[in-house]
Symmetry: C2
DNA sequence: ATACTAACTGAACGATCGGTTAGTAAAGCA
DNA sequence: TGCTTTACTAACCGATCGTTCAGTTAGTAT
């Protein structure tokens, strides 16, 4: 994550990333508001005041965490496979990438998906998230217009149901390995594109 | 809801259901923990203390709300169409019924789906919810064993993704009418069973 | 009128919240 | 050995939390 070579000065201890990791886990367990700086400190085996040496406020912890989740999703949309080629392929790439990103940054995305816009920080995050959703909705519409997707369901509804499925990972997925996430992404794509019904055509 | 004939005694005012309705909306907007009895009171144009005339605690408000959501889902599993006939038909009925129940009791189910188990009340609700999920998972397995559903994806994963899709309604669905919910249920079933891809066979 | 019942208010309570301050502990560097 | 840098602690602050309590208001019943 950070540089491993440079020797550190001063008393060793936590860095921001390590504190953030534990804080995000606590936020997800009890909810952001219900997680007091006191119990957060005891999880870190620190005093409350020590946290304020690394972060200026509780809300800044949330800010850094949400940015880590949103940054990953936003970078996904910029990848070449997401910007060139047939719309259906771009959509598949983004869908698969979203599953992998969720699996990789699970606690951070989990926190993001629970934000309700109760502060400027949360509202900013919601805005960025809606912007991401809108980009995916455009992909769905493009794929539909190209004849790759069924036209009898409203694209906005499709996008929401699709992301409902993907985002639900944060409610139950427990990472066991990187191959696990790739296989899960396969399942999501298969279910989303081909449906649950027994396929009438043969599969390779 | 309650009897309309019996004349009430004493000073008129809120009853439990009316308070609960507003409380649940507030809980969903800011989160249960972040919603203070003070702001709740001001939404009701009441004093904080007045709420305690109707409910013994903040947690009891949550308890009644969660029970209303869970009761609806549990009754769904007891309906004849959910207990008799081919597994695929029973699964379809439950899936459709869940969408309609979500639409009908949207704020209550929304609150239920955000519970994290941070108190005995919340843990009880999570237990009942898991029991419901388990019943649906059994339906999925039965339908798969009967050859109605594809066998190349693990039933547990299918169930979770399926309910991820359905439960995501609480994040975006805005009720406009009862026919609206029925149409939405159609879309969910179509997407879940047949997938997003352009159907190769003709549709009636 | 009087009694009764239910709905409600204002003020206060202990507890806990996020955050601050002043000082200390532990490391590398000179 | 100091000196600097970084990490931390104990004690505390004002604000807000859920809850309680003693009394008041607004209706119905007799």
């Amino acid at each position: 994550m950070s540089d491993l070579s440079t020797p550190k000065r001063g008393r060793p201890g936590y860095d921001r990333a390590a504190i953030l990791e534990i804080a995000v886990l606590a936020f997800n367990e009890h909810g952001y508001d219900a997680t007091s700086m006191g119990v957060l400190a005891s999880r870190l085996n620190l005093s409350k005041a020590a946290i304020y040496h690394h972060f200026s406020s509780k809300e800044e912890l949330l800010q850094f965490a949400l940015n880590h989740a949103l940054g990953g999703l936003e970078e996904l949309l910029l990848e070449p496979a997401a910007t060139t080629g047939p719309a259906i392929d771009r959509l598949s790439h983004v869908l698969r990438g979203a599953v992998l990103m969720l699996a990789d940054r699970l606690p951070y995305v989990t926190l993001l998906l629970r934000v309700r816009g109760n502060s400027p920080t949360e509202r900013d995050a919601l805005t960025r998230r809606k912007s991401f959703d809108r980009s995916v909705a455009l992909l769905v519409s493009a794929a539909r217009d190209a004849g790759s997707l069924r036209a009898d369901i409203d694209p906005a509804t499709v996008t929401r149901l699709l992301f409902g499925m993907v985002n639900s990972l944060t409610e139950w997925y427990q990472p066991t390995g990187p191959a696990d996430a790739a296989h899960l992404a396969d399942d999501v794509l298969a279910l989303a594109l081909n449906g649950l019904r027994t396929p009438s055509t043969s599969r390779e």
